[in-house]
């Protein structure tokens, strides 16, 4: 039982929240917020206690120290999102749907946990679907708004398509190896043409989920149409989870054809970083802006994957951890501003620092961290990714990525320029953000400032990543 601790706890609180929802009268639906936060905080803390590792269902489900760590990272991220979304959920038009938000989100989180712990492709696929479909409902949150509805439909269609491709790939793997268990498949991967085709289908399916170029086309529209908190969940948590399992499968199942997928990744990395950056340059809407910047960031993560072995896994996890705090910081500010004023464009932020110094300070730190400026955590994350790629001798790739960090710095600076340098006749007026938002942003800032200096975090991730091989 304790082996599945994370999933069971999440299921438990989902059920508890459902029961609370049933017994709450219509005019007191908001009361679900506090218990939801407390329960999630409890689950997050409980996750950090040392747990048992092992396998269940004949190896379909396996729990290692590494997967526990990954689940904890996701829990922390979701907790921050829960805290940040309180202000938005309390709005009048959302009062009917508050618990829906929690239930759907938790359902996807459970799916991600199963996906990460998967020991065979079937479990992996089940988790993946559970992690994707409820999000489409969330993306279409404001279903009477055209953009939001479009976001939901686009998300469900693209994920259905990508799941189809993925499944096809998996069926071919089954066809060539006769098994779906990771441990059994791995030695049977020989790089025969059919297996390569299977791999490409698998790769394409995952690339859709992580929104790598050229499978990224759904990202910007979905991110723009969905509510900010859902967007931040999509771009941070669900992306991180997909990257984790993608890396694990590449390293364990497809280890024998590493030379092949390194080449594919090489090209995809360059495409993703460069195109993500170039599109981000032209965006005016901050949500779209962050969407494209997160595509580029995913490209940086690929640098770590291409680094292979223990150091690759470590840098990927470490960067994802840093990225969660940085991106949630940026989305937190965008979210609260969008709630209070409805403004989402970069131009609207002109003179923001003069009216709301604290919020723009958080935004500035988050963007600097995303750009990889020391002493913020993003610097360490990027540095280690580059180290991982350089270790394999991919100096040209590192150089291209480095040039791209300069491009990304340019567009991050554009937002900072708007906030600090520009002046405006009608700046966003001063408003008092609620305590939940402040707490959420404070957690992000603490993460961004502290993670880099505490080398123990990196060493811990490194030691746990060793368990994979």
């Amino acid at each position: 039982m304790l082996i599945m601790r994370h999933e069971l706890l999440l299921v438990a609180i989902t059920v508890i929240l459902l029961i609370i929802e049933i017994f709450l009268p219509d005019d007191r639906k908001k009361d679900v917020i506090l218990p939801a936060l407390l329960l999630m905080a409890g689950v997050t803390i409980a996750g950090f206690f040392p747990g048992t590792t092992g396998e269940l269902f004949g190896g379909m489900y396996r729990n290692t120290q590494l997967t526990i760590l990954l689940k904890n990272i996701l829990n922390v991220g979701v907790l921050i999102i829960f805290i940040q979304s309180v202000d938005w959920l309390k709005k009048e038009e959302n009062k009917e749907k508050i618990s829906e938000f929690y239930l759907l989100l938790l359902a996807t989180l459970i799916g991600m946990n199963y996906m990460i712990s998967a020991g065979d492709f079937l479990m992996f696929y089940l988790g993946l679907e559970l992690a994707t479909i409820p999000i489409a409902a969330l993306a279409a949150w404001e279903r009477y708004k055209e953009k939001s509805a479009e976001a939901g439909v686009k998300l469900i269609f693209t994920s259905a398509l990508s799941s189809g491709i993925l499944l096809y790939g998996l069926s071919m793997i089954y066809g060539t190896t006769g098994t779906l268990y990771f441990v059994d498949v791995a030695p049977l991967i020989t790089g025969s043409p059919l297996q390569i085709l299977a791999f490409i289908f698998f790769f394409a399916g995952m690339a859709f989920k992580i929104s790598l170029v050229p499978f990224h086309l759904w990202t910007a529209d979905v991110y723009e149409g969905a509510p900010v908190n859902v967007t931040s969940y999509l771009s941070v948590i669900s992306k991180a989870a997909a990257v984790f399992i993608f890396t694990i499968i590449l390293y364990t199942v497809f280890a024998k054809i590493a030379a092949l997928w390194s080449e594919v990744l090489y090209v995809i990395t360059i495409l993703t970083i460069t195109l993500g950056n170039l599109f981000a340059l032209r965006q005016q809407n901050l949500k779209r802006f962050l969407a494209f910047s997160s595509i580029a960031q995913a490209g940086f993560i690929l640098l770590g994957i291409i680094g292979q072995s223990q150091i690759g896994m470590t840098t990927v996890i470490y960067f994802a951890l840093v990225y969660i705090f940085s991106n949630l910081g940026a989305f937190g500010v965008v979210g609260i501003v969008s709630n209070r004023t409805g403004k989402e464009n970069i131009d609207d932020y002109d003179g923001f620092y003069r009216t709301n110094p604290n919020l723009s300070l958080v935004m500035m730190l988050a963007l600097f961290s995303l750009a990889g400026i020391p002493p913020l955590a993003g610097f360490f994350g990027k540095f280690f990714l580059f180290t991982a790629a350089a270790k394999q001798g991919y100096y040209i790739l590192v150089l291209i990525a480095l040039v791209n960090t300069i491009i990304s710095l340019y567009y991050y600076l554009l937002v900072i320029k708007a906030m600090l340098l520009n002046t405006s006749d009608q700046p966003i007026a001063w408003f008092r953000s609620d305590n939940y938002t402040r707490l959420g942003l404070l957690m992000c800032v603490a993460g961004m400032v502290v993670i880099g200096f505490v080398s123990a975090i990196y060493e811990m991730v490194l030691n746990l990543s060793f368990g994979l091989f």
């Binding site: 540095f383 350089a390 040039v403 960090t405 600076l413 600090l420 990196y458």
Partner: protein, 504 residues
């Protein structure tokens, strides 16, 4: 804990103090007290260092503090200084100290201004005392980024454009540097053993020749961007012209020295054979920097542009001398960094003060300022004379050493380059004397200038501190020269070992 840690702790504490200050005078006094302490520490460090050396301590670096940071990557928080870093720290604390006084009249967002300024200083101090390539790079980037805010918010003219251009070009340079550092790291143990970022340890190793030749251009260009290497210098005139006074001072005075110091300490020191391989290419570029900067300065009418171009020329001379690969020339390069640092800070401080009064920086709109602001005018003349290398000031000692050292090179190519670079002294005299003549002497052209006031107490503090700096070095250069020579030993040995045939 060694004394060097103080150079990180004091600025950080000052920043915290500033953040908790209420009133803008409180902010300024906190900054002033913090940076005065820093200056006192720097002077103490110089005396301690000289005392250690006199006591016969011959270790390569002194006051070492070495803490393990990232164990698996072998990253250390490793501090230590030799004579050269001590000199650079002295320069930095003097310029920062003067910079605080020069920005005493900042009214817009003073808290943010002084925080960014001191954050920049932290980066610079950290860079000079780091002996681990990782922390060195960390501090380098830390020093560059506050520049964007400092120029963008408090600057003048096309400040948004200049700030963006400066930041992107310098960060582009740092991208090259990072690639170079990673390359060095993964080749840092050719004879086996753990990979390391430790500068001293790597300098004892012999990196593979192909690696050196591959990495040297990245590192030299990367640092060279900050050292205003032609054709990557274009951020410098725009950046300096748009920056507020204290930032121009710090930038031209100290930050550009990061480039020279990095070229010397990382590129040439760790990759001596790469340096010999590529030396001629960069020597041509630096010679162009020297001449182009000097002529650029003659052509300009805006005081800040004149000085920015003159900085390109003088900093070009630093890189030029480093590429001569002999002891005298490199000694001169370090002297030039110190001398130019103080001198150009003085120039920019004075220009800022004059601009604050006349509200113009065009020399053809001014004249006769000697009569209305004698203190500033005399100080300007002193700075000018130091800049054109008058004996008795630091500039003379530095340029003399550089050209004597460079001309020791027996082959024609290096000698021709030296002669060309030498001619920049004449051009320097032209633009310095022309500015002094048009700005300070003659009739007052604008009647509004009759009523202008002379320097305030805080202006005087700033100017006097800097002038004493250049005079001390000019009158008694030997202690500094000895201190630097002491630090040059290891690098000169490495260069000799790399290409004995060329140097002798």
């Amino acid at each position: 804990m060694s004394i060097l840690t103080l150079f990180i702790i004091i600025p950080v504490l000052t920043i915290i103090g500033i953040l908790f200050s209420k009133h803008h005078m409180q902010v300024k006094w906190t900054a002033m007290v913090g940076m005065s302490l820093q200056l006192i520490c720097a002077i103490a460090l110089i005396f301690l260092y000289l005392a250690e050396r006199r006591a016969g301590n011959i270790a390569e670096v002194l006051f070492v503090q070495n803490n393990l940071w990232y164990e698996s990557l072998n990253i250390h928080f490793y501090l230590g200084v030799d004579g050269i870093s001590v000199a650079m720290i002295g320069l930095t604390s003097l310029v920062v100290f003067a910079g605080i006084f020069a920005s005493w009249d900042i009214v817009d967002l003073p808290k943010e201004f002084f925080t960014s300024l001191i954050l920049l200083a932290t980066g610079v101090f950290g860079f000079f005392i780091s002996l681990d390539l990782f922390t060195m790079f960390l501090f380098y980037e830390l020093a560059v980024i506050p520049m964007y805010l400092l120029i963008g918010i408090w600057g003048s003219g096309p400040r948004h454009y200049s700030a963006m251009k400066l930041t992107l070009m310098l960060m582009g340079g740092s991208a090259f540097i990072l690639l170079g550092l990673l390359g060095i790291y993964f080749n840092s143990a050719p004879s086996g053993g753990p990979l390391t970022f430790d500068l001293i340890k790597i300098s004892k190793e012999h990196l593979p020749l192909a690696t050196q030749n591959f990495l040297f251009p990245f590192l030299f260009v990367g640092f060279g961007v900050l050292g205003a290497l032609f054709p990557f210098h274009t951020w410098s005139p725009d950046g300096h012209a748009s920056a507020p006074t204290a930032v121009s001072m710090l930038h031209a005075g100290v930050l550009m020295k990061l480039g020279g110091y990095g070229c010397y300490r990382v590129a040439v020191f760790l990759l001596p054979e790469g340096a010999h391989h590529w030396g001629w290419v960069f020597l041509i570029l630096t010679t162009i920097s020297v001449i182009y900067g000097a002529f650029g300065a003659v052509w300009q009418k805006d005081l800040k542009y004149i000085n920015a171009y003159s900085s390109v020329s003088h900093c070009g001379l630093v890189l030029f001398a480093i590429l001569m690969f002999n002891q005298t020339a490199i000694n001169g390069a370090i002297m030039q960094m110190i001398s130019h640092g103080i001198m150009t800070a003085l120039f920019f401080a004075l220009i800022g003060m004059i601009y604050g009064r006349t509200h113009t920086r065009y020399i053809n709109e001014m004249g006769g300022l000697m009569k209305v602001m004698p203190f500033l005018a005399v100080a300007y003349v002193i700075a000018g004379l130091a800049s054109l290398g008058l004996p008795g000031f630091s500039g003379f000692v530095a340029e003399m050493t550089i050209f004597v050292g460079s001309f020791q090179h027996p082959d024609t190519f290096h000698r021709v380059a030296t002669v060309i670079a030498c001619s920049s002294i004449v051009v320097t005299a032209v633009y310095v004397l022309r500015v002094v003549g048009m700005l300070l002497l003659g009739k007052i052209r604008n009647p509004e200038f009759e009523t202008l006031s002379d320097a305030k107490w805080y202006d005087k503090m700033s100017v006097v501190a800097l002038i004493s700096g250049i005079t001390i070095i000019g009158v008694a250069p030997l202690w500094l020269s000895d201190m630097i020579t002491g630090g040059l030993g290891p690098i000169v040995q490495k260069l000799l070992a790399a290409a004995p045939a060329i140097i002798h």
